[in-house]
């Protein structure tokens, strides 16, 4: 089995160039999917039986929540790879993920709160999903805070990697405890992201949005990654050609 592709992915100059070439292949399909999802979700999908047009917030809340979790997991995996095999590019990936994930966690919280009014008649409910999102935001902030607090890039990479791995192990535990806590107090309703019997006209735009946001994440990640990779290479010769170009 040839491992050259693996070694190439770990090579900063290769990644810097490759990421640039790859970005449009994710950016344009992402834009298409998101536009399609918006059209389907805002225009084509019929209003919900209970919530009327209010349910359309789903089409931005669900992708944001999905992003917040998916990005954290990606970050933790990249961090683990960087820690175990000491690959700088992996650490660069993890660093690139954090601001993206944190901002979408914030979006998930705001859209979740805005959805609260049509759903429950109140802006905030300590329901398990929203509470877990809030905790996830703090996990991101902690990760970013630790990175920011350590000057040496290598120590920052490795310390935040340990934190990310510890965090990702804790996410299911925290989520379970929040669900457990919530169930004790007979919360008025649990936010259901998707009813089991969602008609295709409602489901397809949702899937399009989820796909579109995932592609968008990769595109943005690739842009950030190039900057992170560059920052970790002090004065390697390949930078000279690339930067003065």
């Amino acid at each position: 089995m040839s491992w050259t592709w693996f070694h190439r992915l770990a090579s900063p100059p290769y990644v810097y160039a490759f990421a640039a070439r790859l970005t449009p292949w994710f950016a344009w399909p992402a834009a298409l999917c998101i536009l399609g999802g918006l059209w389907g979700g805002l225009v084509l999908a019929p209003p919900d039986y209970q919530q009327g047009d209010g349910f359309r917030i789903l089409y931005v809340h669900a992708p944001s929540a999905w992003m917040s979790l998916m990005v954290y997991t990606t970050m933790a995996i990249a961090a683990a790879v960087g820690l175990i095999w000491r690959i700088k590019v992996a650490h660069a990936v993890a660093a690139s993920c954090a601001p993206i994930g944190a901002s979408f966690t914030f979006a998930a919280l705001v859209t979740g709160a805005l959805w609260g009014e049509p759903m429950w008649g109140t802006y905030w409910e300590w329901d398990p999903r929203l509470t877990s999102e809030l905790v996830l935001l703090f996990l991101y902030l902690g990760y970013m805070g630790l990175r920011a607090g350590i000057e040496d890039t290598q120590r920052a990479d490795r310390a935040s990697a340990v934190l990310a791995v510890v965090g990702v192990v804790n996410v299911p535990i925290i989520h379970y405890s929040v669900v457990w806590w919530n169930s004790l107090h007979q919360a008025p309703s649990v936010m259901r992201l998707a009813k089991p019997t969602m008609p295709p006209s409602m489901l397809v735009p949702l899937l399009l949005m989820l796909l579109g946001f995932t592609l968008y994440f990769v595109a943005v990640l690739l842009v950030r990654l190039r900057g992170e990779v560059l920052g970790r290479e002090r004065t390697a010769s390949w930078i000279r050609e690339v930067v003065s170009a």
Partner: protein, 253 residues
Amino acid sequence: MNAGTSAAGTLPAAHAAGTAAPAAASAAAASALEAAWLALLRDVQLAFRRRAQLVQPLAFFALVTMLFPLAISPELTQLRAVAPGVLWVAELLASLLALEFLFRDDAHDGTLEQYALSGQSLTWLMFAKTAAHWLLTGVPLALMAPLAALSLGVPVTALPGILLAVIVGSVTLSLIGSIGAALTLGLKRSGALLSLLTVPLSLPVLIFGARATQLAINGAPLLAPLELLAALAVLAVTLAPLAASAAVRISLE
């Protein structure tokens, strides 16, 4: 450096004992345990020379507990309703404060580096340091919880259950805290960052502990949350020293 290294000085001896019998893994394990035990004794001895420091987290706990009646109401019925939350929040905050003592002195005088370089299992040494820290701060804090509970109008019958829950919970809090402390070793103004890192990870302890306390107050059996607290403690004991030792090595590099 001389005051505290009497125990650390024997680490090389234990190390030599370990390398003298390379084929016997059990000998190495025994010396790791020996080293851990010595580290624990050392930490306890040193802490007793500065007993005044140990009182600070306890005073903080009492202070925080006192804030709530003043901020809410002197009525015991109202206080009893919020007692589980107050006790556990105060417990969490006080244990955060106490974390400062875990690595500070050893990082300062180079003992931590000695531990990392000693060839002994750093994981066991981290476990020993955290265990010592728990004995010195976690247990006293836990012993204060019943007193604080009484001041919040909790019936006497609830106290044994509360004490048990807090003791088990404090084990996990100390272990999770050791990870955060190791990651932020030597950083300036790390207090807020340490809290930001440690608190989200400690939420399950807070949730199950407060629930156990509520059940104890109601006179109901609290086995379910207690078992969950115990499970968290077991998980923490197994995994946290590993993470802490990785973090210490990274911080010392």
